[in-house]
């Protein structure tokens, strides 16, 4: 298990760079995190685990992927977070935080969402625990992810479009922080990744760490040992940290955070655009959304517009603990581009009968290109399922020549 950092710092990263109006709420949250999550006061963690089991469907399986194993000549295992309620790992964190808000006596939930996976998970958790909930989502993402918007509404949440900037995750986080600063006394902000001010990066990691806690145990039961390599896609980094947390101390296990290389790693400084979301691979140290971390920014420190074919990875920052683990060379920051991720999407769908989220597909793209370097046993986290991405996949597949893809012509223009 990774360390606890009492001062909220991971090496030089982390911290609490937020407006003063939020600081008392952050102190209150830090206290609640330490008591309920770290010390299991009032049986908080017991209730959290029971709800993850009964409502969420945990544990999720660790599955031997037979055809991928055959293809790569080594044992490939899938941690099936796509089978968690809601279809992604996001519920682990959302359920934990909404439950914590209840223990703290808060009366209202706000959250940001990029792809809509965190928004839908928070909306489900809020309905399950009877809390009113408002979700902020960039207008562009709303248009890219209609089914998820609909699901949030079905669960009784309000969805507020964010029209500033390019209308993606970065703007949605800023707008949710503004709501929290206005309603801080009765509202909890359920942040969706291991980002933001302390205690969020540590707390979200702890809620997501159930992924690696289970996977490590399940793999030992099935193989008698540990994997040689563990792969997870990385945007903000919550599934990444959840998948790595219980392997960090196993020094022989290689950890690979696979970022979105987008269309290219080249940056257009003039336009303020990085056509990728590879902040661990190419970013520079800076301060954004409450934490010091690695960022996509120009030489002045203005934050760049990021890009990825998967909106869940489309963010200019990354969790501060991951930034530190990369600097320590414990985690390998790698990336694959949009084309590679789309090919991997189709390959996993055809070979294993698992339609992955486009975010997840990046990890399988890296596996395809680098399997020879990953040892005899490889664990890949299937962070989510791909139902939400079908429209994007049709559109993006039409623009490319992908060997593994079926003909999608009859679906052109929508399903």
């Amino acid at each position: 298990m990774t360390q606890q950092y009492a001062d909220g710092k991971f090496g030089k990263y982390g911290g609490q760079y937020v407006p003063e109006a939020l600081m008392p709420a952050i102190e209150e949250l830090t206290d609640a995190y330490e008591r309920y999550v770290l010390e299991n006061e009032d049986g908080f963690m017991d209730e959290f685990r029971a709800r993850l089991r009964d409502f969420g469907g945990r544990p999720t399986p660790t599955q031997h992927a037979e055809r991928l194993s055959e293809r790569y000549g080594r044992d490939v295992y899938l941690k099936r977070e796509d089978l968690l309620h809601g279809g992604a790992h996001k519920l682990n964190n959302a359920l934990g935080q909404v439950l914590l808000a209840k223990y703290m006596g808060k009366e209202r939930i706000v959250a940001e969402t990029g792809a809509g996976q965190h928004g839908t998970a928070t909306a489900m958790a809020a309905a399950h625990l009877d809390m009113p909930c408002e979700i902020y989502m960039g207008e562009r993402d709303i248009n890219r992810q209609r089914p998820n918007v609909f699901r949030m509404r079905l669960n009784g949440s309000e969805v507020n479009p964010v029209t500033t900037g390019r209308g993606t995750l970065k703007e949605a986080i800023s707008e949710t922080m503004r709501d929290w600063a206005t309603n801080v006394e009765d509202t909890h902000y359920v942040i969706g990744s291991v980002v933001g001010p302390h205690p969020f990066p540590a707390m979200v990691r702890d809620f997501q760490a159930v992924i690696s806690e289970e996977a490590r145990r399940q793999l030992r039961e099935q193989t008698g040992g540990l994997p040689d390599s563990v792969l997870a896609c990385a945007g903000g980094g919550s599934n990444t940290m959840g998948t790595f947390a219980h392997f960090v101390d196993d020094e022989d296990v290689g950890l690979y955070a696979v970022e979105a290389g987008g269309s290219t790693l080249e940056v257009d400084e003039e336009a303020g655009v990085a056509p990728n979301s590879a902040s661990l691979s190419t970013g520079e140290e800076g301060v954004l959304h409450g934490a010091r971390t690695k960022l996509l920014q120009d030489s002045d420190g203005q934050i760049m517009e990021s890009h990825s074919v998967s909106s869940g990875l489309d963010y200019a920052g990354v969790g501060p603990e991951l930034a530190q683990l990369v600097d320590e060379e414990r985690v390998n920051a790698v990336n694959v581009d949009d084309d590679c991720a789309l090919e991997a999407f189709h390959r996993l769908s055809q070979l294993e009968g698992v339609i992955p989220a486009l975010e997840t597909a990046h990890a399988f793209g890296y596996l395809e290109e680098n399997y020879e370097d990953l040892g005899e046993t490889v664990l890949v986290n299937v962070s989510g399922r791909g139902d939400k991405d079908l429209e994007t996949v049709i559109e993006e597949t039409e623009n490319r020549d992908i060997e593994a893809a079926p003909s999608l012509a009859e679906f052109s223009g929508g399903i």
């Binding site: 911290g15 609490q16 760079y17 937020v18 407006p19 003063e20 109006a21 600081m23 008392p24 709420a25 102190e27 500033t164 900037g165 970065k170 800023s174 922080m177 503004r178 600063a181 206005t182 309603n183 801080v184 006394e185 303020g272 140290e285 800076g286 301060v287 954004l288 959304h289 409450g290 960022l295 920014q297 030489s299 002045d300 420190g301 203005q302 934050i303």
Partner: protein, 279 residues
């Protein structure tokens, strides 16, 4: 610390207007800031626009977008300060990442050094709470600049003591929870906040939501040493930009609005003076 901010608060209430530098373009913005001084500004908070202004409401967010599209950068900002023809103290309001990234070494020192060379008096950094402020505080001490902190309605007890032990120049009293933006009423939290701060010997400037001379009057009458007004002035810049008014017409309107706010503050102070003499 810097004597000029102390002096600005020494005689009567200080009127502290805010504009984003370069909104909507460099040349117009110079005229707008100079108009604020003619309208009675005692200190001017000059915004260096950052792409993620998390503490700002929509009015100032839009100003930031206009200024960035107009080409404002930290280096242009320093040029802007150099080109400005004003005598009142200038305080730079920006977010920490721009201060952190400036110059050849990481950290706030090169930015503060450059600001000192150009005669800026201090900083307000909305995303830098006291916990993270030591490096900037040290650089400000080295170069003789002030570091203004924001105190929110939620700031109490030990936190308040810690902030008040680090603040210099003036303390920015956030009149209400939430983000910046002009409001139609005076927040009831203002008086409570001023009472909490009464025993600290630092000038108290109230901001967030002040829109009219009447608001200014009531806040100064309640004990504020100064008023900070941003969005109500930025609204005039935005309206002028959208309707295609000349820069001179917008500047005249800003001067008029500044005068209204300053006069309101002076009226509020007159209501208070007998009290002050009675102490």
């Amino acid at each position: 610390m810097a004597d000029d901010l102390d002096a600005a608060f020494a005689d009567g209430p200080a009127f502290v207007p805010y504009l984003a530098a370069g909104d909507p373009d460099y040349e117009s913005s110079l005229k707008y800031v100079e108009a604020l001084e003619r309208g009675g500004a005692d200190v001017i908070e000059l915004g260096l626009p950052f792409s993620e202004p998390v503490a700002e409401g929509s009015t100032i967010q839009n100003a930031v977008v206009r200024a960035l599209e107009g080409g404002m950068t930290p280096d242009r900002f320093f040029q802007f300060v150099d080109d400005l023809d004003v005598d009142v103290p200038l305080v730079c309001m920006t977010y920490y990442n721009l201060i952190f990234q400036y110059g050849d070494e990481p950290g706030p020192r090169p930015f503060v050094e450059r600001a000192a060379e150009l005669g800026l008096s201090g900083f307000v950094v909305p995303d830098l709470p006291a916990e993270e402020a030591d490096p900037l505080r040290d650089a400000c001490d080295e170069f003789g600049l002030d570091l203004v902190f924001i105190v929110a309605p939620t700031t109490r007890g030990e936190r308040l003591d810690r902030i008040m032990s680090q603040v210099s120049g003036y303390v920015y009293v956030q009149a209400r929870l939430g983000v910046t933006g002009a409001q139609d009423d005076v927040s009831g939290q203002t008086e409570e906040s001023l009472e909490r701060l009464a025993d600290y010997d630092v000038p108290k400037a109230v901001g967030f939501g002040i829109k009219t001379g009447d608001h200014a009057e009531r806040i100064v009458a309640a004990g504020a040493d100064g008023i900070i007004v941003g969005s109500a002035l930025v609204d005039i810049v935005a309206e002028g930009h959208e309707t295609g008014k000349s820069a001179d017409a917008v500047a005249a309107r800003l001067e008029e609005k500044a005068r209204e706010l300053k006069d309101g503050a002076l009226r509020g102070y007159e209501q208070r003076v007998p009290q002050a003499e009675g102490k």
